[in-house]
Each structure stands twice: as C-alpha cells, then as structure tokens.
C-alpha cells in the first residue's frame, strides 16, 4: 500500500475541478451545472485541507468552513431560483435562460 502523499490529494482535487468545470461548460441541465459548481468548490476545499494538513496550518481548514457555509447559502438561493424558473418556463435548460442579453 503506497503512502498517500500530498500529490494524491492535489491530483484528486485537479480531477474533481476539471470534471466540475467541464460539467459547467458542457452540460445544459441547470441542476447538473449546479452540482458541477459544487464539485469545483469541493475540489478547492479538498486542496485547502490537504495543504493545511501538509503545512500544519489551521487557516486552510478554517477557510473551508467558510466555503461550506457560503456554498450552503448559495445552494439555497440557487435551488430556489431554479425552482422559480422551472415554474415559469417548464424547463431548466440553461440555454433557454437567455432573456438577459445585449
């Protein structure tokens, strides 16, 4: 069993971030885009705690709590928006939400 070094955590974080960003860029379902955003946030959280442990510094772990708090608030607002949009448009296709444009 090889030792789990910091590199593994970073690699997992990168993979999660990449999947998340690709999900945001490529998918049309608003819920999935939302989940992808959460995944990117959590990849960052992972990187924070990994560096915190590696460096022996609690700042990263404290920051993660903030991120989780903000993400929770964001999820509450975001899901409410999606529900509201779905009620009017009967769709949560993100490409159809294009009324605000120049």
């Amino acid at each position: 069993m090889p030792e789990v070094t910091i590199d593994w955590y970073i690699a997992l974080s990168v993979i999660l971030f990449t999947i998340g960003s690709l999900g945001v860029l490529l998918r049309r379902n608003a819920i999935i885009v939302f989940m992808s955003v959460e995944m990117m946030l959590n990849s960052a959280n992972l990187a924070f705690v990994a560096f915190a442990r590696h460096l022996g510094d609690l700042d990263g772990q404290v920051l993660v709590f903030f991120v989780i708090t903000v993400a929770a608030a964001e999820v509450a607002v975001g899901l409410a928006l999606i529900v509201a949009i779905f009620r009017t448009k009967k769709s949560i296709n993100i490409d159809e939400m294009n009324l605000l444009k120049g």
């Binding site: 860029l25 885009v33 294009n98 444009k101 120049g102």
Partner: protein, 744 residues
C-alpha cells in the same frame, strides 16, 4: 418811505395770474363764457395793476432814499462755495429798473384791460391771459434782475412768451394752407436764437474776464481793470481788456439786434404781427423789443469803456459807434420799407423797428437818457397806435360780419356769389373810418402825430433829444436819423389818410363800428400819456428844476435826466479815473427842433397830398408804385437776401446733416451696417458654428461614441450562461498563465 422789501411782490402778482388762468381760468370760461371771461381777464389785469402799484411804491421809495440803488434778495439761485461762485436771484431796485418796471406794468395793465374787450369770444381766452401774465412775469425778471444771468432768464422767458403769443392762433392757415401764424412764431423764435447766442457768449466772456455776472461787481472790476491796463489770459492767447470789452459789447449788440429787431435780425418783427393785436402792442412795440435798449443802457459802463478802447473792431470802428450806425441804418431802412406796406399792422411794425433804431442809435451815441426817454414815450404812443389799429381791425371785422349777414338775408336763394377773400388789416379796403370810429380816429391821430414828432406831443421831445445829440456828436447818424424821421411822418400820414380819410373803399368799411368802451378807455388813457409824456424830461423845465433844487439833492423827481443819472453812473471811479461818461444835458437845439418839425409837417402834408384821392378803389395801385426806387423796398431786402442766400444753404446743410450724415451714415451705416450687422454676424457665428459644431458636437460626440462602444460591447452579452462561464474559465486560465509567467 421804504417799500423795498415789497419788491418780490412785483414778480409774485403776475405769477399768481399765470397760475390762476393756467390752472382754472379755462373752467371759468367754459362754464359761462361771459362771466368766465370777466373773471379770467380782470384777474390777470388786476395782477398787472398790482405789480404797477408795487412799481410805484418802489419809485416813491427811491425818491425818499436819495435814489439809492437797492438789492432785494429773493433766494440764492446758484451757489458753489468751493468755486466761490454765487448767483443770487435778487431784485435790483434802481432808477433804471424802476423806469422799466413802470413802463412794463403801466402800459401792460392798460393793454390787459384792452385785451379783455379785444379777445372777447375767443375760445382760448384764458390761455391768452395765461401767456400775457407769464410775459409780464418774465419781463419783470428781465428788468429787475441784479445779474446778467437773471436778466438772461427773463430775456429767454419773454422770447418764449413772444413765440407762444405770435402763434397764439396756431391753427389759422392762409389761402395756400400754410400755417402762417405758427410759422411767424417759429421765425421769431429762431431769429432770436441768433441773438441769444451772442448773449450767451458775452456772458461766458464776461465771467471769464471779471469772475462775476453781477452788475455792480462787473462794472467796478471792468473800470478797475481798464485803468490798470489789465490783460485777460485765455490760456492759449491773451487779450487786452479793451479788446475783451469790445467783444463783450459787440456780442451784446448781437443780442440786442435779435431782441430789439435791428439790422440784420429785424426780419422777425414784422411777421410777429400775426399774433393778436394786444400782443403786438405790449410785446412787439412797448416792452419786450425794448429790452435790447435796456441791456445797452444797463451796460453803459462797458460800452463807454469800449468806446475808450478805440476802434478795435477790424481797426475801423468801436462798438458804441457800430451800435449807433446799426440803429441809424435800421431806422432808415425800416422807415423806407414802411412806405410800401398795405397791412395796417405791418406799417406799425416797420415803424417800431425804425423807432427802435432811433433808441439804439441814441444809446450808441452815449445818449442813454435820450434812449430811455424815447423808449418810454414810444411805449405810450406805439402801444396806442397798435391798440388803435386793433380797434380798426375789430371795427372792420364787425363791418364785414354785418355785411355778410346782410347780403345773406337779402340775396337768400340767388345762388353762390363769389366773394373775394377779405383782409380786415388791408388799408386799401379801409378809408373814411373817421366818421365810423370817431374815438379811435382821434386817439389814433394823437398817436400818429406823436410818432411823427409834432410838438408838443411826447414823440417830439424824445426824438428831438436824440436828433439834437446826433447833431452835436455824430453828424452822419444825425443825417440818417433825420431822413428816417421824415419817412416816419410820411408813412404815418399815408396810413392816416388811407385808413381814416377819403371815402370807404370796401363795403366792410362802410359798416365798421366803434369798438366797445372796454377797448377805447385804455386808448384814451394812452392818448393822454402820448400828449403829456414829454413832461417826463422837458428840457427847460428839467434844467430849471435842477438848479432850483441844487441844494436839495433828494426827494423830488427831476425829470428822467436827473433820475436816471443815479443808475447810468452806477459805478465808482477811482481817484485817477480815466473814464468820463459823456454828460448829456437836455438841450433843446432850436435849429434842430425847427428843422425836424418843419420836415415832419411837410412830410405829413405831402402824404396827405399824394393820397388825397388815391387809391380810389381797393384794387387801385398805390401812387408810390410809380416811384420805382422807393417801391423797390417792397421786396424786403434782408428777407429776400436771407431767403435766397441763407435759408437754402442752411436747409441744404440741415437736409444733408439729417439725411446724409444722420440717416444714411449714422443710422444706416454705423448703426445698421457696422453695429447691427457685425453683431448679427458674430451672433450667427456663435449660433451656427460655435454652438452647432463646438458645443453640440462635443456633447453629441460623447453620446455617439458611448453609443457606438456600447453597440460593440453589448454583443458579448449573449444571454447564454455557458458562454459567460467559458469567459470566466478562460479568464481564470489567462490570469493563472500570467501569474505563472510572472513568477517563473
């Protein structure tokens, strides 16, 4: 007796008259013509009589106080302490001014009363008396002022009243539709401006030289400077005092030729006859026109100093000599023109010009007392003659009116019957009036004989005094004046005969009627004065009284000579005084008096002979018309000269100034083209160029640039969330790349 302090009342009474008639007189007349006229007319007359009473009191005060001149202050008119410049408005009560006051108010009162009758029925009755009182007011300011400036105020004021009264019937037009009366008024006013210009310049010069305009101060300073041979500095140049005095007196002469109708400015006076006849009598015969003589007599010190300075004017003549010649020639010329006139008042007007010439000549010769004597007696008999002529005109108009009604009744219905325009002043239509208007005839005869110089009437004494003086001191002047006196007698004989003798030459003359008592009473009083006026200065009597009262210097009126002496020498001679006023004792030269009486009688007789049965009808030519050289004067030489050579260039210049300079250049070019057009083009530049391209361009430019930019940038806002996400992603990548590149 001391009534000096009453002097301001002299001016107050006529001023009240002006206010009464000017403010409420009209309502009286409009409410009830008969009663209103009586109120309006008598109020004005009583005010004039009131002034006369004050003048008499002043006369008595002078008698009681050894003829002491007295200055009665009214107010400080102009007072500039920093410049040490004071012009008080004060009344100078001395023998000269009181003489004038008595004449103005005495003759003025009689003419006021006469005018109540003469102006009866005129719609502007109260306006007439307003002007009349105003005239008395200004005339009294003129004669009572103690400085030249106050004199000038009166001088201008009487000029104004003259203008107002000449054009009193300003709406009357002649056959050609010209407003003759208004024109005559304007002519008088404009011609007088020329003379007033001389007055103003004289006062400027006087103030510069003597630093005062007060009579006493000016005379004393003038004598003092003259004795010291003072040189007056004018900044750029300087002039000896003699030259300055000559200039001042010459300018006074110019003023006098305007106001007193002398060559070359006499032309306004005959036209002034357009005014109502009382005006002609009071203003244009008895009083206002004599103010030029008053001015010269008042300034006698300056004139005598100018005489002492020798012939300064072009090195030929001194001012007093010039004055004498101007007077003499005017006397002769006006006498000759009077021959050729048909208008009864025009004859008297030229006669007035001629008699004023006598006075001016007397003043120029240094015979100031004689000039004043003639002024007073002339006021009596010329006022009488004018009022008499007014009575004649009144009678003729009455006759014409009667005739008109008569024919209207008789020939009713036989169509229009052409009537020649009737002039009630044309002597050719008169004749035989002595039976129709006996009172007028007798008083007129007295006036005419007095004017002609028949003893013992007033005109004889005063005219003879002038002639006697001329005979002694200035022979040329004497000869000219003697001829003028012959002319006087001749044209008065002609007028008497044409008006009162022979047979009526017009139906109107047949029906003429005597004037009402209100008009004839003043005539009788004036006739009485014209008879006894000579007593004022009777030669032997005066001398005898002077000798009898030699030890009794004050208290008794010793004739004009002794009386005026106190004013005419009203300056102090210094010890080594070089100034000697020519003493002019009243001498009756039997030869001179005999010659002039003989000539006058011959001329009167000659006139009666020439006109004994001519003209027979109103259309007949005048017998004198055959005498071509004499009749030549009918063209009125000075008037013709002015109308040919002065008026057209003046009008041309006025037109040029008005149209070329003022209108075309000043308004059209300077105002319109230069100022307005430049302003407009500048404003156009601001509006069309600066505002449009500058201000609007900037503001609109900012707007359109913003708009263009926004048009470009808004395309990036596609509305696709994933596009934005891609942008954010790429941006993050770019930032990351940048940091990596910067850090490593």
């Amino acid at each position: 007796m001391n009534a000096y302090s009453l002097a301001p009342l002299l001016l107050l009474f006529p001023a009240i008259g002006v206010l009464f008639n000017g403010l409420i007189g009209r309502r009286f007349v409009e409410a009830d013509a008969k009663v209103g006229e009586r109120w309006s007319g008598w109020f004005a007359s009583l005010m004039a009589i009131g002034s006369f009473v004050i003048a008499v009191l002043l006369f008595l005060s002078l008698q009681a106080n050894e003829f002491q001149a007295m200055i009665v202050p009214i107010i400080d008119w102009i007072s500039i302490p920093s410049a040490n410049f004071y012009i008080p408005w004060a009344i100078r009560v001395d023998t000269l001014s009181v003489t004038m006051m008595l004449v103005v108010t005495g003759v003025g009162s009689l003419i006021h009363i006469y005018a109540i009758g003469y102006m009866h029925g005129d719609p502007n009755f109260s306006r007439f008396f307003t002007y009349f009182s105003l005239f008395i007011f200004f005339m009294l300011i003129l004669v009572s002022g103690s400085t030249y400036l106050v004199l000038f105020v009166g001088w201008e004021g009487v000029g104004l009243c003259s203008f107002l009264l000449i054009s009193f019937w300003f709406d009357r037009t002649n056959a050609a539709g010209k407003a003759m009366n208004a024109d005559a008024g304007r002519k008088a006013f404009i011609v007088n401006r020329v003379g007033d210009f001389g007055m103003i310049l004289a006062m400027f010069l006087m103030f510069w030289a003597f630093r005062s305009l007060e009579f006493g101060a000016v005379f004393n300073t003038a004598v003092e400077m003259f004795e010291q041979g003072h040189v007056v500095e004018f900044g750029l140049f300087s002039a000896p005092i003699g030259t300055v005095l000559t200039a001042i007196t010459a300018l006074f002469l110019l003023g006098a030729t305007g106001k007193s109708a002398q060559i070359p400015l006499y032309v306004w006076l005959p036209d002034a006859m357009a005014g109502p006849t009382p005006v002609s009598a009071l203003i244009h015969a008895a009083t206002m026109v004599t103010s030029g003589i008053y001015l010269i007599v008042r300034s006698n010190v300056l004139f005598e100093l100018a005489r002492e300075s020798g012939p300064v004017i072009f090195g030929v003549i001194s001012t007093p000599d010039l004055v004498a010649y101007v007077g003499a020639f005017t006397g002769l010329l006006a006498g000759l023109i009077a021959f050729t006139q048909f208008d009864i008042k025009k004859v008297l007007a030229y006669s007035t010009v001629s008699q004023l010439g006598f006075m001016i000549a007397a003043a120029g010769m240094g015979a100031y007392v004689a000039a004043m004597f003639h002024l007073v007696t002339h006021a009596f008999f010329k006022a009488l003659l004018f009022l008499g002529s007014g009575s004649v005109i009144h009678g003729m108009e009455h006759g014409h009116h009667h005739l008109h009604e008569h024919t209207h009744d008789d020939h009713h219905g036989d169509g229009h019957h052409e009537e020649a325009p009737f002039d009630p002043q044309d002597m050719r239509t008169m004749g035989g009036l002595r039976h129709k208007m006996p009172t007028t005839f007798w008083v007129y005869l007295v006036g005419a004989l007095a004017l002609s110089g028949i003893p013992p009437l007033a005109g004889f004494w005063s005219k003879d005094e002038i002639l006697a003086h001329g005979n002694e001191h200035a022979l040329v002047v004497y000869v000219i004046l003697a001829i003028a006196a012959v002319c006087t007698a001749f044209y008065m004989g002609r007028q008497l005969h044409m008006t009162f003798f022979g047979e009526p030459r017009h139906a109107a003359a047949e029906h003429a009627q005597e004037s009402p008592r209100l008009m004839t009473t003043p005539l009788i009083v004036l006739a009485g004065l014209a008879i006894v006026g000579g007593l004022l200065n009777l030669p032997y009597l005066t001398q005898a009284m002077a000798e009898a009262n030699h030890n009794h210097p004050a208290g008794i009126f010793l004739g004009l000579e002794g009386w005026l002496e106190h004013s005419i020498k009203s300056f102090e001679l210094s010890e080594e005084g070089i100034l000697h006023l020519p003493h002019t004792p009243i001498v009756l030269s039997p030869v001179v008096a005999g010659i002039s009486t003989l000539l006058a009688v011959l001329a009167l007789g000659g006139a009666f002979y020439v006109y004994r049965n001519k003209p027979e009808t109103a259309a007949d030519p005048d017998p004198l018309q055959k005498l071509k050289p004499l009749w030549w004067f009918r063209i009125l030489p000075f008037e013709t000269f002015y109308m040919k050579f002065i008026v057209p260039p003046f009008n041309w210049l006025a037109n040029w100034l008005a149209f070329a300079v003022d209108w075309n250049f000043w308004h059209d070019f300077v105002h319109n083209n230069l100022i307005r057009d430049m302003f407009v083009s500048f404003a156009t530049f601001l509006a069309d160029v600066f505002d449009k391209f500058g201000v609007d361009g900037t503001v609109n430019g900012i707007g359109s640039v913003t708009k263009g930019l926004a048009g470009g940038i808004r395309r990036t806002q596609t509305g696709f969330a994933r596009t934005y996400a891609l942008g954010v992603f790429l941006g993050a990548v770019a930032l990351l790349a940048y940091f990596l590149w910067v850090l490593y």
